[in-house]
Amino acid sequence: MAKLPVSPEQLIADFGPHKNYPPREGFLGRDEPDEVVKTHCCFCGMQCGIKLLVKNNRVVGFDPWEEFPFNEGRLCPKGVQRYLQNNHPDRLLQPLERVEGAGFRPLAWDAALDRTVAEIKRIQAEHGPHAFAMLSGVSLTNEKSYLVGKFARLALKTRNLDYNGRLCMVSAGAGNKKAFGLDRASNTYADLAHAEVIMICGTNVSETFPTLTHWIWQARDNGAKLIVVDPRLTPIARTADLHLPIRPGRDSALYGAILHQLIKHDWLDHDFIAQHTSGFAEAAAAVKDYDLAWAERETGIDAAKIMRAAEMWGKAKTSFLLHARGIEHHTKGVENVVACINLVLATGRIGKPYCGYGTITGQGNGQGGREHGHKCDQLPGNRDIENPEHRAHIARVWNVPEPEIPRKGLTAYEIIEAIHRGEIRGLLSICFNPVVSLPNNNYVREAFEKLEHYTTIDFFLNETARHADIVLPGSLHEEEDGTVTTAEGRVVRIRRAVTPPGGARTDTEILLELARHLGAGDKFAFQSSEEIFTELRHASQGGTADYFGITYEKIEKNMGVFWPCPTLDHPGTPRLWEDRKFATPDGKAHFNAVSYRDPGEVTDAEYPVILTTGRVVSQYLSGTQTRRIGKLVDQYPEPLLEIHPSLAASLGINNRDLVRVVTRRGAAEFPAQIVETIRPDTVFIPYHWPGRKSANQLTSGHLDPISKIPEFKVCAARLEPLGRPEPAADARNAFASP
């Protein structure tokens, strides 16, 4: 029974979200901390360095860490306020069990673990090992990501383990593997400094990776021209040299059209193409008809602007291309990524100073977390779970017969579909809030209601955890040692600042204890995070993501080490491909032919408006943490419907009027924010909120055929003005959104 035991309103009253503010005078002891801990922010892939001030085993404040090389003290508002997730009144302090009609009641750890394990054994005995699935997330450290992968395969013995990177990094990862044979940003951001042209494609850098803004401006100070491709005039697009306001879902048409112009004007590096790449002829043939007139029709961007972008990119001697979820959250996510990479390869501008390319990893450990085996198709070191040699290596490290390692399982959204079909009956989750973050989330919620058993490990009772039968109170970022890998591929140290409060335990302790209860304790005899990392190093050795030469000591000494780092005396690899030896089987970088096709859902007479979704600067992902921090909530308390004045006027919508947005999945009501900074054919809603305010009630579950990423960034919608203004958000506690 994974239905809510009581109403959402009652659960919100008991477990939040409640807003946490510091006291006027600050937390006691901030002036004389017991300890100042140099660690990293718990949020995005930038992993900014930050110092946490600790007094009496509580985090009481922050200080900028000005020596850390990426951010030199710079932070975004989420980073400044991140310390307030500690000492939070909503914090889970003891295991809980669901009680129908009453909510949740505390129970002892042994009872909670025993009940979870009994349910795992019952479901697996009745329906087979794979009927019990696990979902994970990449806010977890490398150590925990590795541990989850090993736990699911050897303790749970299920093949159905996947993670929330399925909503984040998988299109970029698949595209990079196709083109380069390896999944990592090719350069550090230091290579932005003297790039002549920077093209940022589908990434709202200034709101989602604010501290990267400095690096882009530094390049502009040195003369770089900035091209921004985005349907909205975001803060970074506002001052760009060229803004291409693309119609959502048409990205590969734009990049195909630019490649067409590069070829037409011979803005190509023929030597590089001939010596170091394959597939150029096929890629060129695919775009031979993509002239400017066609491109303007498809993308909705003026032909002259597309030509200008092609010329700027084509004529430059150095360049850097960055993309993120804006091009990746599509049924063509992988195609969009390789279409961008084609532009990099055609001009040969990679593997050299100030010639860069990379996806901007979204989640805190979106990079490392996608390398060490908690993806359904992957083993540590970014190994393929179906590859016999890869399986044999991991079987040796884990000291198990190779057949004991399960095969490839279902991806995150497919797990939800399998629950609906009755194939998956039980679930364990950690660090994932799919009831908010997955598309078409009424369908996701219904799946959770069908589960026979659901145990979750979390530090707050988020919207998904409300469905749990057993809740195991886990640890915050600052409560365990470990490492994460930043968007640049830099492995950095996360330091434990405090221990979990009350009856909460570290995530690692909980997983190890569950493994022991499942009878697999001998494979999980780790005494520390560093011991897990040591095993991870060996497991990754010889894989594409090789961490063998990285140690805690080396990271601390160098303020981070870039993988691949195959030996202990290896300095790490900040810039990939300097030797032009790509990680593909033939050693060459691969062009990929991309023929444009429409998104999974296009507008029609019934649903005439394009809906796209994204983030705001003060919130992070599903809001489990940031919707509990008072000032971050107050900065942007509820989701608004961004709409262009011409579209608003055609429907008689005034600013702050409530508008019902209807798609084939559902309907939800949002106050209108009328702005000229969005395309007239497109509306935008940020997705951080649950319940009735959740944008993901509307988004589609169409998946990319390769990466299985959902198409969050485009669907067809109808707008129904309700003819009345919405009262101010603070009067309604809109952030909690039952």
Binding site: Y21, P22, P23, R24, E25, G26, R30, D31, G61, F62, P64, E66, N71, G73, R74, L75, C76, P77, G79, V80, Q81, S206, E207, P210, T211, T213, H214, W217, Q218, R220, D221, L233, T234, P235, I236, R238, T239, V617, S618, K631, Q635, P645, Q673, I674, V675, E676, T677
Partner: protein
């Protein structure tokens, strides 16, 4: 001496084009124990209907501060380093003359405590050799603190300007605005 470590060759520079409106500065400023969770720096949309442009305002620390000149209680003083200090709480009578007089709209009257508060360029930090908190955390470089030679070398497309013309009045400030290269003054009216 508390202020012995103030670096007299370091100045504050605001570059409005870089502001991304994230409010990290406001959040960080409010954390200061002397501010009691009230930010002394203010970020506002210029006109959200037409643009995502935001403006950020700190105390400009005028050479001849209007706030101090109009203060009937002599609560606002400028020190030998050019820092115009927030109201002396023992003297401030909360008349709001300074609020009305400041050409940049900086001082705020805090109704709850009946005291004027404004930015003192993080005197606690700058007097200990550190940068002001807002300029330390600003993720885009819209707020920057350091040597004039360094910023003019780093940002050749811009020139620091600290002369503002309001009608017939010229206001010179300790804090600089980064303007297009070659600019010498900002005429506000």
């Amino acid at each position: 001496m508390l202020n012995s470590q103030i670096k007299t060759d370091e100045e504050f520079f605001i570059d409005p084009q870089r502001c991304i409106g994230c409010r990290a500065c406001e959040m960080a400023c409010a954390e200061c124990e002397t501010n009691g969770q009230t930010s002394m720096i203010h970020v506002d949309y210029v006109d959200r209907y037409i643009s995502t442009q935001t403006s950020v305002q700190v105390c400009m620390h005028c050479e001849d501060p209007a706030c101090a000149r109009v203060c009937p209680a002599d609560a606002i003083t400028k020190d030998e380093f050019g820092i115009v200090h927030t109201a002396n709480t023992a003297r401030c009578i909360s008349c709001a003359n300074c609020v009305l007089a400041c050409p940049f709209g900086v001082p705020k009257k805090i109704e709850e405590t009946q005291i004027m508060m404004k930015c003192n360029m993080c005197y606690d930090r700058t007097s200990a050799g550190k940068r002001p908190m807002c300029a330390t955390v600003c993720p885009s470089g819209a707020l920057w603190y350091g040597k004039r030679e360094k910023i003019t070398q780093m940002r050749p497309n811009s020139t620091p300007v600290n002369k503002f013309i309001f009608g017939e009045q010229i206001v010179r400030t300790k804090v600089n605005i980064m303007m297009p290269a070659g600019s010498t003054e900002l005429r506000v009216d």
